[in-house]
């Protein structure tokens, strides 16, 4: 839970006064809180995201490099977990949010702890 995952901000909106946005993590998209970086980011920027919160802005080259390193280090279990949870929650009660099925990792089973 300590490693942040970099992603690209593809959309921004407000949820009852809170700065939110959709972030694309190598094809997996989910809603992320942008409140802590709201003054410095806009659509198209990259940010490092911890448990659904963007904590720092990074440049594109750094974001892509870090993402690849995480993938190679098999540290993207969290992303798999994020994807499953996001999809389940979307299926449950909020089908209007942007989503994109399929993750960057074809191989490998889902994280055990994330299973329903």
């Amino acid at each position: 839970m300590c490693l942040g995952i970099p992603g690209k901000i593809v959309e921004v909106h407000e949820d009852r006064g809170l700065a939110m946005g959709t972030v694309d993590f190598g094809g997996v998209r989910r809603e992320v809180c942008l409140a802590y970086v709201a003054d410095e980011v806009e659509v198209g920027d990259y940010a490092v995201v911890h448990v659904g919160f963007a904590i720092s802005k990074v440049d594109e080259a750094e974001a892509k490099r870090t993402f690849e390193v995480l993938r190679e280090m098999s540290e993207l279990d969290e992303l798999e977990w994020m994807r499953e949870v996001a999809e389940r929650s979307l299926e449950g009660h909020d089908a209007g949010r942007p989503r994109e099925a399929g993750g960057p990792r074809e191989a490998g089973g889902p994280r055990e702890a994330g299973q329903p």
Binding site: C2, Y36, V37, V48, H50, V51, F53, V85, A113
Partner: protein, 371 residues
């Protein structure tokens, strides 16, 4: 050098290894604080490659590992209540409590749900007004901004059926506790890059002067760690003790101010038990009294649940750097990631799991990594 071929940039890694070996006139003892760094170090065999020059002691920076047994037992108690939806980061589900873990409670019918963001738990509460939704708010300073926001928003939106079971810890007091231990051998630290992305590094500046130790803010990728080690070794060889920043692409001295401000508004410093280590004064975050209505410990009157840690798990010695995971008699026998006796064998950030998963312990043991 056998693992260097696995590096993304093997030439740079090789050059850093050479420079560390050239620079070190003796074997220095360094501690990496972050569990993600431990994972990289063991997986890539950095501790073995540099065996002659540095001994890496794996610090207590795995939030899953240091969450006290008592809080796990309280989580288990809540998860069994029929009126409660218990939500948690996925990492916590297999951490053994006194009698079972959250996954077993779930298998027995407890409503335990893995969420990715604490705001997901808040949404769950708003969508289930007839149930109590409790979120297990654990972690270091990396998850604190997210958890603080969930509580802040719960108050703002008036979500009365949401509460948090807080077990937050912070890094600097743990470093102080390690340095103050009479048997401390750590001569320098690699501070956790992502923690410092949030908090900056001003908190560490007094420690370098007070205890005469270098602290290098370091990322979690192999080359980051090698560079962080090199910077720490240079300081030690030159007799310097300063905070330096290896992870410049993410960390600024002042950190993320808006995140710090919300942490400050929602949480206060409290004494906190660390699993395997004991109580460290002012080392944790607890809810401020203004947010007492969202404190699951008060709401569900959990004070009666106390726990004593079993003696068979020697996680405390591992977390204090006194015992390498593979030196524990239960390692790989009675204690495996499938059947963990203690938390460091559960988490991917835990030292025991890292050694077990990457099978590097045999080489390390044969090479005599202890002095």
């Amino acid at each position: 050098m056998k693992y260097l071929s696995e590096y993304r940039d093997p030439e740079l890694a090789r050059s850093l290894v050479d420079r560390i070996r050239e620079r070190a006139t003796r074997r220095w003892v360094l501690m990496e604080v972050c569990g993600g760094q431990t994972h990289t170090i063991v997986r890539q065999g950095i501790n073995e490659v540099l065996r002659e020059s540095v001994e890496m002691i794996h610090g207590p920076g795995c939030p899953v590992c240091v969450t006290p047994l008592e809080q796990i037992d309280r989580a288990l108690h809540l998860a069994t209540r029929s009126d409660v939806i218990f939500t948690s980061f996925g990492d916590m589900l297999r951490v053994p409590g006194s009698e079972c873990d959250l996954l077993q409670i779930k298998a027995r019918g407890g409503d335990v749900r893995v969420i990715y963001s604490p705001l997901d738990a808040l949404d769950l509460a708003r969508n289930n007004p007839d149930r109590e939704v409790v979120f297990f708010a654990v972690g270091f300073e990396t998850t604190a901004p997210a958890n603080a926001m969930a509580v802040w928003r719960a108050r703002e939106l008036g979500v009365a059926n949401f509460s948090v079971l807080v077990s937050h810890v912070t890094v600097p007091p743990a470093i102080v506790a390690i340095l103050q231990a009479p048997d401390n051998r750590v001569q320098g630290f690699l501070a956790a890059g992502h923690v410092c992305t949030v908090m900056g590094w001003t908190e560490y500046e007094p420690l370098t002067g007070l205890y005469g130790v270098p602290i290098v803010v370091t990322g979690f990728e192999p080359v980051d760690i090698l560079e962080g080690i090199y910077m720490a070794v240079c300081q030690l060889e030159e007799g310097r003790a300063e905070v330096e920043n290896q992870y410049v692409r993410s960390v600024r001295r002042e950190g993320n101010r808006p995140a710090q401000e919300l942490i400050e508004r929602v949480f206060k410093l409290v004494d906190r038990q660390w699993r395997g280590i004991g109580e460290i004064p002012a080392s944790g975050l607890g809810l401020r009294s203004e947010f007492a209505a969202f404190d699951a410990e008060l709401k569900f009157e959990l004070g009666f649940i106390t726990a004593t840690e079993p003696l068979e798990c020697r996680a405390g010695e591992v977390l204090r750097g006194q015992l390498k995971p593979f030196e524990c008699p239960e390692f790989g026998g009675r204690c495996t990631p499938e059947n963990p006796l203690g938390a460091p064998m559960v988490s991917s950030e835990g030292a025991c799991a890292a050694y077990f998963n990457y099978g590097r312990y045999e080489a390390a043991a044969a090479g005599g990594s202890r002095t």
